[in-house]
Amino acid sequence: MILILWSIAILAGTGLAALLAGRKAPAMATGLGTIGTVVGGWTGLFGAASAWLGGAPGGIHWEWSLPVGALDLQLDSLSAFFILPILGLAMPAAIYGGESWKAWEKEKNLGAAWFFHNLLVAAMVLVVVAGNAVVFLMAWEIMALAAYFLVVFKDEKPAVREAGWSCLVATHWGTAFLVVLFLLMGQAAGSLDFHQWRMAGLETSGQTGWFFVLALIGFGATAGFLPLAGWLPEAHPAAPSHISALMSGVMIQTGIYGLVRLLACLGEPAPWWGWVLVAIGLTSGILGSWLALAQQDLKRLLAYSSVENTGIVALGLGLGLIGISAQAPVVAILGFSGALFHVVNHAIFKGLLFLGAGSVGHGTGTQDMERLGGLLQRMPWTGAAFLAGAAASCGLPPCNGFLSKLLILMGAFTGLATLELRWLAPLLATLAGLGLIGGLAAVGFTKVFGIVFLGEPRSAEADRATEAGPARRAMMGLLAIGCLAGGLFGSALLHFVTPILQILVKAPAEILELNLAGAARSLSMVFYGFLALLTLALALAALRRRLLAGRSVTRQPTWDGGYAQPVLRRQYTGSSFVQPLTHWFAGLLPPERRLKAPSGWFPAGVARATELPDCGRQKRFRPWFAALHRGLAAIRLRPSGGAPFQVLWITATLLVLLIWKLR
């Protein structure tokens, strides 16, 4: 535990130092920020690993002068588990950022940027070790604000400011519900400490259903459940890429952490909880992957893919809850462990993909897929790393995304084969949904990789693309290796989740171990299978090399239906690539079509645009906020004397409150 404290202190301290170094020495600020993150990251990782392997949960309890609770930090296996992806991704992202932010040294105050960066990382660690609702909310708030300031890094663009606003609204929307939730739970349990909540036997209070719903809304906004996920596709494209990687890879997963922590506190789940989570997972997963494949902006597509992946995590959690309700520990174990694995896997591959998108944006100056193409030859390192990330994101073997999906699918299959008829609907929906999500994600990422990296460049910028610098290449390579290694060696890591499962599934350790061993056996078979296939592929490559050694290997232009001089613009575009699917599923969310038809004797211009509407777009929140503002303005007292009168009003209100309290 003390190592975690050190980690937070190092992160915050170096951030502060970077802020002070500020404008005068941007290189020093960068150094401080990067080194601080790496040192703090390793310290925290060691702390988390020792707590996990040692098995003994550590904690710190300091009384403080605030009226509620105490400064209570707890490091149990669940916290340690979430610290791993947070710090594990923060370090490569920071090193990447150290190089990519160099271009901004003249224009921006990098000191402030690094301050907020390190603060964001520290706050995320603090969120998962908070042992008390007040500490949690404070850390949550720091995290939200730091993220906001990082999103608006390029604040000279109106779109970026708009995105920052979305981010702020979404996180605070969630916080509002969380405050209510924590107050209600505190009242029911008589304490604001999380471990007291676990002991308090909240299920007897009869309110746990409400708590669950509040937690879903509160944490769901950050986690990116549709329809609350509207901020993701706004904020991620606007933020600098390594920040998007951090936010999309791990910050949204703090929402999942919150939900899991709450589930651990709430005791026996009601049967409908699992149904609700499966429904949410399906909506987010299917709509997320469907909206993703239709996007034209690379980072926006990745943001929607994050919505999809949160959906998969929710499906796993829902399956776990169903397993508990149906008294089928196997199903619960497979569901929960699949969800937890997917959190880590998603952090790795989505972090990688955002870093790759950042390199593409940096090398070409655009994120518009219709202007890219042929980048694999110009940016081979980025391309290869992106390929690993894309394959993992589709859940293709042998990458890590496959393992977590396999666990969830196995859970659902086992449930179908063993459970009673009344669980048919959610299990069937999970399976069919995961199948559909997988198919749609495969289309989406085939499109991304095909359009961005293969073929010919679609614009001059793409033609002149330059490869990212050495540090960035190394970090992307590291994460790409993580994608492959996670897929190959995941089975060995499976039994590490037992302590967390013990928190969630109230079953004896032997039963958990036994069931996990079954799943681990399957996964290790998969591992050997992949090893064999890999050997086969290598043998094939060697064979081909030998085979073609003495033969003619010539280069010719691509066969293009007999045209001798193919035109660049005839290359298939991203929109045409997904047209069959957007057409088939138009009933799901009808695309908005705008047509400027030719008119008059001499028509001057014709235009046609197609856009997929997003049900969670923040624009749709605007009218609500405006209405709220108008409503509150009506009851607001209007002191005419400016600031002094306002202070007077505040003082008067406080006085009245004090008198009321002392009454």
């Binding site: 396999l406 299959f413 199948g435 085939t446 399957s522 078979m525 081909r544 073609l548 232009p557 066969w559």
Partner: protein, 301 residues
């Protein structure tokens, strides 16, 4: 070690027998049309000829252009090795191996699509777009069919799932899986392997720019995939696990032959579907599998 000794003959069997199927289909088509047609072993000759040739690569192609088909072939072979071979049983059976099979097929598709997109050809882009779009629906139907088998037998490993006969739902399941077979292997009514117009091709257009040994690998992989689906369909319907080894082997061979001839007949007697009607047929296949699943559930409950 025993596992490897078990796998090697299986590998050889798949490797050698698979190219027979397209030959049979072509023979059936020729027979219905009243032609003599190419010899049944034509694909073997083609493969041998391609294997000896040199290669012409697109100027745009990176090493991935050759690597993609290799990945696809290896993935399809891996999926084939997972499938139990009737009397010989399943080789490395484990819980959830049918999911690995489905995902390996998805990997194979990704490999082919990757190589096709390398060339930057509009036609190949179109082929990939169609292939992956069909796959979304076909995969859902395949997963549902697997589910029906899984519910019926209470097991999630292929060897146990495919051993007994499909119950009352056999007809539904067979029809659904047959449509999936046609779609996944790009046969009529989804695609016409004999077409000569790039605009209308799907699988053929994706491999337009390949030549020599890589093309041989692609063609061989496609035939293995066809055999895989034919065998899956046969084993799902026939009680191969309950028969004596000799009978089971004969039943399997007969079943695969029947499925192949069926595919040839469909190809001779039906025209291609209009592109916009394709989702309808695939959804029908999905619904057939879904009804099979519901029947399996009803029978088990």
């Amino acid at each position: 070690m025993t596992l490897i000794l078990d796998l090697l003959p299986r590998f050889a069997l798949w490797f050698v027998l698979a190219p027979l199927l397209p030959g049979i289909i072509n023979k059936v088509k020729a027979w219905v049309a009243g032609r003599r047609g190419p010899p049944v072993l034509q694909l073997y000759y083609d493969l041998a000829r391609l294997w000896r040739k040199g290669v012409v690569l697109s100027t745009l192609a990176s090493p991935g252009f050759v690597f993609g088909p290799a990945v696809a072939w290896v993935a399809v072979m891996g999926a084939a090795l997972l499938l139990p071979l009737g009397p010989a049983g399943g080789a490395p059976g484990f819980r959830g191996d049918m999911l690995v099979l489905i995902y390996l097929l998805a990997l194979a598709r990704f490999g082919t699509a990757w190589a096709a997109m390398e060339t930057g050809s509009a036609f190949e882009g179109m082929g990939v777009a169609r292939e992956v779009s069909y796959a979304v629906l076909a995969e859902a139907a395949l997963i549902t069919a697997m589910l029906a088998l899984c519910v019926q037998t209470g097991s999630t490993s292929l060897a146990a799932m495919l051993a007994p006969a499909a119950g009352a739902d056999a007809a539904l399941l067979a029809a659904g899986l047959f449509v999936v077979l046609l779609a996944e292997n790009c046969r009529v009514p989804f695609d016409d392997p004999n077409t000569h117009l790039e605009l209308t091709m799907i699988h053929e257009v994706m491999v337009l720019d390949h030549s020599g040994p890589p093309l041989a690998v692609i063609l061989h992989g496609a035939s293995v995939k066809l055999l895989l689906f034919a065998l899956l369909l046969t084993e799902a319907v026939l009680p191969v696990g309950k028969l004596a080894p000799g009978v089971a082997a004969a039943a399997l061979a007969g079943g695969v032959l029947a499925v192949t001839v069926g595919a040839g007949l469909v190809e001779s007697l039906l025209a291609r579907l209009a592109f916009r009607r394709v989702p309808l047929l695939l959804t029908t296949a999905f619904l057939l599998c879904l009804f099979a699943l519901l029947m399996a559930w009803k029978g088990g409950a």
